[in-house]
Amino acid sequence: MQEFLQHTLNGLSFGSVYALIALGYTMVYGILAMINFAHSDIYMMGAFGTFYVINFLKLGESPNPITFAIGLLAAMLFSGLVGFMVEKFAYKPLRNSPKMNVLITAIGVSILFEFGGQIVFGVNPKSFPQLMLDTEVFNFMDISVRLLDIIIYMVTIISLISLSFLIGKTQTGRAMQAVSSRQDMAPLMGININKIISFTFIVGSVLAGIAACLVAMKYPKIDPMMGVKIGTSAFVAAVFGGIGSLPGAVLGGYILGLGEYYLIGYGASTYKEALSFLLLILILLVKPTGLMGKKAKEKI
């Protein structure tokens, strides 16, 4: 039982990270109807942003909340910036091209980041500076609850609340909804589509940056390929929840996080990726729009 609870706790922190990354996939899909393959690399860039900023400020030796705040901000800033650039230079010129071309470009951007990153940052994993001490907060019946897990839950919850406020209550957020539902009508309402698309990319990338910082704190080894596996899982989570649907991405993220952790915990870890894809294919066959996705009508 306590083993099960421990797996649940770990699964929840994994799930939080998946949810944050899956939101980026799903937001971009909702607004541009494209799979942003480069999202996992934007995530990776966030972790490297923190790494270089903290090392530049020589804060690596002093783990405290201020260091953590600086590190988190650096990751958000870097990821946001990279997301903005990717959209501006790679995707924007293709706004009116066929879908397949955009998808191919996204794959190209992703691979360029992964292997270009290996040249710029080096192939070997770098050890991520300690931003907070990972102390045990309390121990209940041999279930240890650690500070980093609590930070991950808290940061995720705050991010999700801010995001739902941003999208539901602000003018920009309503504009995002408008562009997402009818891209041809939105300009007639005085919405600058290009700005909104850029903004959506930035928001999604910032969420990925937050996730990167959290993951790098928990597993302090970062390398240019770190986004591949987690990005794939988060992507599966986004599709599982219904790509284009924000609550779906969060739900999918948590289901996948918990599921994968139980699998690892009960010894089937080598099949982990195959199983998540198998699950995805089955879901797509039974309900192609995912758990909470809306069915898009095809107009002639």
């Binding site: 494209m34 790679a90 470009t105 794959i107 040249i119 599709v239």
Partner: protein, 309 residues
């Protein structure tokens, strides 16, 4: 348009023999291996081009079919044919058939899934195949499959791989210009309109998948026997992407374009090999840049849908 016209056939046969002779007598084994690699790349590019370029079904799982072909052929030669090279054509054919069966299974749901979702399913399929081989100890698991039987010398390898490429090209090229190909073009242009015009779209997609996966499996089998070694990591997502780049550069829908771009992209990394990259595969820098620029500047690829001859 008739490719099988006698004079063209004669021209290709002569140039094939001449190139083979030049490679065998005048060039070193490094170039010889490159030529065979080129032909395998061309087979893979053609197989993807048929399903993605002609039928407009985006497949990111070509590496999965390739892996099935490679592993099947390698295991068969080892277990049943005592590593005799002259059984390779037979086992390669068997590998292609296994891959075709998988292609049929992948194609079954394709009438339900469109565009991105189909890309995801094919990508997932390749990933599942890779993980299965990763966990199968008999074929070496993550260490890879060592000691696959190789062709005895360059000329045999050149002859058989060239024959396979010729077969792939002829079949897919003729399918493209046949009535079946025209149905696929209709599907490519507008799925709903094609359905309204009475073409059986689900059936056509399935057939297109069968042909594509057959030749991908064939290419995979030849890949294994050419290199003598492969591992599940050889057939990862990057391999699928590499095949996609071959097909896209030549022009989606142009069969001769695929062969042309396979030639260019096999030679290009070798020319750039002297650049300092700190041990990183130069292809993985050049290809994505090429891909992005191509999509922005010339999205239809080198030849578009036209053929060279």
């Amino acid at each position: 348009m008739n490719f099988l016209a006698k004079n063209k056939l004669l021209f290709f046969a002569i140039s094939f023999v001449v190139i083979g002779a030049i490679c065998n007598f005048a060039l070193n084994s490094y170039i010889q291996a490159l030529v065979v690699s080129f032909m395998i790349n061309a087979i893979m590019a053609l197989s993807l081009n048929f399903i993605t370029g002609v039928a407009n079904q985006f497949s990111l799982g070509q590496a999965g079919f390739m892996a099935l072909g490679a592993y099947t052929s390698a295991v068969l030669t080892k277990v049943y044919f005592a590593d005799q090279w002259y059984f390779i054509p037979l086992t390669a054919f068997a590998g292609a058939l296994v891959s075709t069966v998988a292609g049929y299974l992948v194609a079954l749901p394709s009438f339900k899934l469109r565009g991105d979702y189909l890309a995801i399913v094919t990508m997932g399929f390749a990933e599942i195949v890779r993980v299965l081989f990763l966990n199968w100890d008999f074929v070496g698991g993550p260490r890879g499959y060592n000691g696959v039987v190789k062709w005895p010398d360059f000329l045999v390898s050149y002859g058989f791989t060239g024959a396979a490429l010729f077969l792939t090209f002829i079949v897919l090229y003729h399918l493209k210009i046949s009535w079946f190909g025209r149905n696929l073009w209709a599907l490519n242009e507008d799925e709903i309109a094609a359905e309204v015009m009475g073409t059986p779209i689900a059936k056509n997609k399935r057939f297109a998948f069968l042909f594509s996966s057959f030749f991908a499996g064939l290419g995979g089998a030849l890949y294994g026997h050419h290199l003598g070694y492969f591992s599940p990591a050889s057939f990862g997502f990057l391999m699928s992407v590499q095949i996609l780049i071959f097909a896209v550069l030549g022009g989606l829908g142009s069969m001769s374009g695929s062969v042309l771009s396979a030639g260019i992209l096999t030679a290009l990394p070798e020319i750039l090999r002297s650049l300092p990259t700190g041990g990183i595969d130069i292809r993985m820098i050049v290809f994505p840049i090429l891909l992005i620029l191509l999509m922005i500047l010339r999205p239809q690829g080198l030849l578009g849908r036209k053929e060279l001859f």
